[in-house]
Amino acid sequence: MQDTPNAVEMRGIVKRFPGVLANDHTDFDLRLGEVHALLGENGAGKSTLMNVLAGMYKPDEGQIIVKGAQVRFSSPRDAIAAGLGMIHQHFMLVPTQTVTENIILGLSEPHFYLPMAELDKRVMALQEQYGLKVDPRAKIWQLSVGEQQRVEILKMLYRGARVLIMDEPTAVLTPQEVDELFVTLRSMTASGHSIVFISHKLDEVLAIANRVTVLRHGKVTASGLSTIGVTKAQLALLMVGREVVFSVDKKPAVPGEVALSIDDICAENDRGLPALRNFSLQVRQGEIIGMVGVAGNGQSELAQVITGLRGCSCGRVLIAGEDIANMKPYAAIKRHVAHVPEDRHGVGSSPGLSLADNLIMKNYRESPVSKGWVLNRSVVRKQANQLKTEYDIIAPSIDVQARLLSGGNLQKAILAREMSAGPKLIIAVQPTRGLDVGAIEAVHKVLLQEREKGTAILLISEELEEIMALADRIVGIYEGKNMGELPAQTATLTQIGLMMAGTPQGSAQTKEQ
């Protein structure tokens, strides 16, 4: 392997953002025909480094060498011309356009008129060559996430990319789709492509990569380490700089009465298409239900229906026996339903208001926060300061605007607000997405504390490890239907993957009747 020439070399890359040093003299090299994993925690600078390589960002210092020659990219177009294609974590696809339109986007040929039938055929031919099947005429929004990823790969191959940079490619896939992706990646390296695989998942790195480079706080802690003979624990140590506990301590569940009962709910998504189809679910006091599903299968809509943010066309939402379906969100708030929403900036907080105002957003109607229609500012400030200390929200003061808080601190603020109201039911959607390890631990601790207090919790997450660690029962959702439930202790990844892909498991068959 030592004689194999490098496809790409990066030397001493420095990239600064206001207040952050994202890459601190980082080196990276990629050999021809290898899968090179770039491992690190959220915020370690992996994506930034690769965005520099892909021409999205300009480095403040350092040089990039492609096939022996130094290059300077001023835009992604330059990088693509040099054979480097990046597949972003959030897919860069235009949802309203077809597969073929997305693939030819940004090219200069054909220059004006687009003969779509012929272009579709060309895309089909490319698909045959690499075994990446997807209907060229389908619109992107109609495709599953796995199919969208294939479109991204095709887009780069169509441009003749020899180096593919994949940013967290498995984050949105079912376990089965991950396996398919790995098969594709191996066939691509066999045909001479080189792949950078950005990830924070140790198992996957060991499964697919030939070598691994580990980043921590923008610095390289292991450079081009061969994955042969390396253990997960060693990599984890390099990644976080301390031993990581892979499981969460939790006492056995003591399920009480049914706190939330969803009966036969149907609801539409924003496009007016069915999002929930006769969905039923029960959550008991003192247990965590973990809901798994590929994004866009109705889990967001479910959380919105329960919390009153979305109407439903049939069915009932019973909170402690009372139907609150199609009522306003206040109906749920009054019944002590806490909501930790997916969209922290739009739904979970009001970015332009102060931290203090965000913290009282659910109890501002009540004494002593308000008297009649007047807010008691001194009580507001006292409460806000208390919560800030109690939940360790790091902010210069309670008067700072919510939009200036980091993701982790904003999430702590939302949790503080929701938990301080004494919830009986918590709907938590993607509560740890994009947070660093410390903040994730804090979120998990709060959820487990609430569970021990006897609160019913519905946890909707795409992080399977999180679901496996926290949940007592695991429920699958696929195209708005309940795919059954499994006890968390005995559930396997294969079973969960099947539920996410639409094959009912566990008790689902009996529920159908």
Partner: protein, 323 residues
């Protein structure tokens, strides 16, 4: 009695104004920039066209300079919203006021300066012989009306069947994706905001040189720029629908005038004849309709169903994190 052929023919002629303005706005909005300043840009266009035509006697020069004048104003909007990332609604309203103010000041006393060579009207051979459609569409129209017939399919074809159109749609739907593939997002947004300005200028010139010749201060456009804003939503950003809507609104404006003429309507006494004040109510209807369209079109769920460009109104910054 009401002569429907005349109403429709006049509707097509005056609807051409709305058509130009809304086609331009469709292109701008498809690229992600909303320009509420159409009314102001049309006024600048109308005033410039008429003034240049009066001074030089050349209507075509007036027409070209009208487009340039409105185009320059639209570039101001582009600078403020694309580079400085100002709120598009606020900037659009400001552009509107600038347009109204400038045109009123520069057009002072212009209405008294006498008649101008109007655009010639002519009928198209053969096509004007078609029963019903011939008299409505192809008889005694000015060249602008015929230009409108060409621009509608051309705009549709450009947006949906060509590479520049594909890139235009991508920039308005997902600018980050377009940027990642090397498409110049700012450049394209500038281009289409400018084209929107040129078209608004052309719309204004069409009023002051052809449809209702002369300069009558801000009554020249009488709010048609705002109707065009509503039409774009009503048309779901589709040129064909915009054409249908424009001609419909054009005919409606004429119908409202004609309704106040006859003493009887369908054998009944015509209330609009005997109570002229009701005419104001009729004249209000198109504008009320626009408010309704804007109201419906602004709902979040409705936006997705209508196919509103996803990035409409959102400034683009490369590598913007969070928020």
């Amino acid at each position: 009695m009401i002569d429907w052929i005349v109403i429709l023919q006049a509707g097509v002629a005056s609807g051409t104004v709305l058509l130009f303005a809304s086609l331009g706005e469709i292109l701008a909005e498809r690229s992600g920039v909303m320009n509420l300043g159409i009314e102001g840009m049309m006024l600048i266009g109308a005033m410039t066209a008429y003034k240049i035509a009066v001074v030089t006697g050349n209507v075509w020069l007036g027409m070209v300079l009208a487009m340039v004048a409105a185009g320059v104003l639209s570039l101001l909007h582009a600078l403020v919203t694309i580079n400085f990332r100002a709120d598009q609604v606020v900037s659009g309203l400001a552009i509107n006021f600038v347009g109204i103010g400038l045109s009123t000041v520069l057009g002072e006393g212009l209405s008294k300066s006498g008649a101008v060579n109007l655009l010639p009207t002519f009928s198209l051979p053969l096509l004007s012989q078609i029963p019903v459609l011939g008299p409505i569409l192809f008889t005694n129209h000015n060249p602008m009306t015929y230009l409108g017939y060409l621009l509608t399919p051309a705009a549709w074809f450009y947006i949906n069947r060509t590479r520049p159109g594909l890139h235009l749609r991508a920039v308005g739907e997902h600018p980050a994706a377009a940027d990642a593939l090397g498409i110049n997002v700012y450049g394209l947004r500038y281009r289409y905001v400018f084209i929107g300005g040129l078209m608004a200028g052309l719309a204004g010139a069409t009023i002051s040189l052809a449809v209702s010749p002369g300069w009558f201060s801000d009554l020249t456009t009488s709010g048609q720029g705002w109707i065009a804003v509503g039409l774009v939503i009503f048309a779901q950003w589709n040129p064909w629908r915009a054409a249908a809507g424009s001609y419909m609104f054009g005919a409606l404006r004429r119908l409202i005038l004609d309704l106040q003429g006859p003493q009887t309507l369908l054998f009944f006494a015509n209330p609009f004849y005997y109570m002229p004040k009701l005419g104001f109510f009729l004249q209000m209807l198109p504008y009320a309709l626009v408010i309704l369209i804007l109201f419906i079109g602004s709902r979040e769920a409705m936006k997705k169903r209508l196919g509103t460009p996803a990035a409409l109104g959102v400034p683009y910054v490369r590598g913007e994190r969070g928020l």
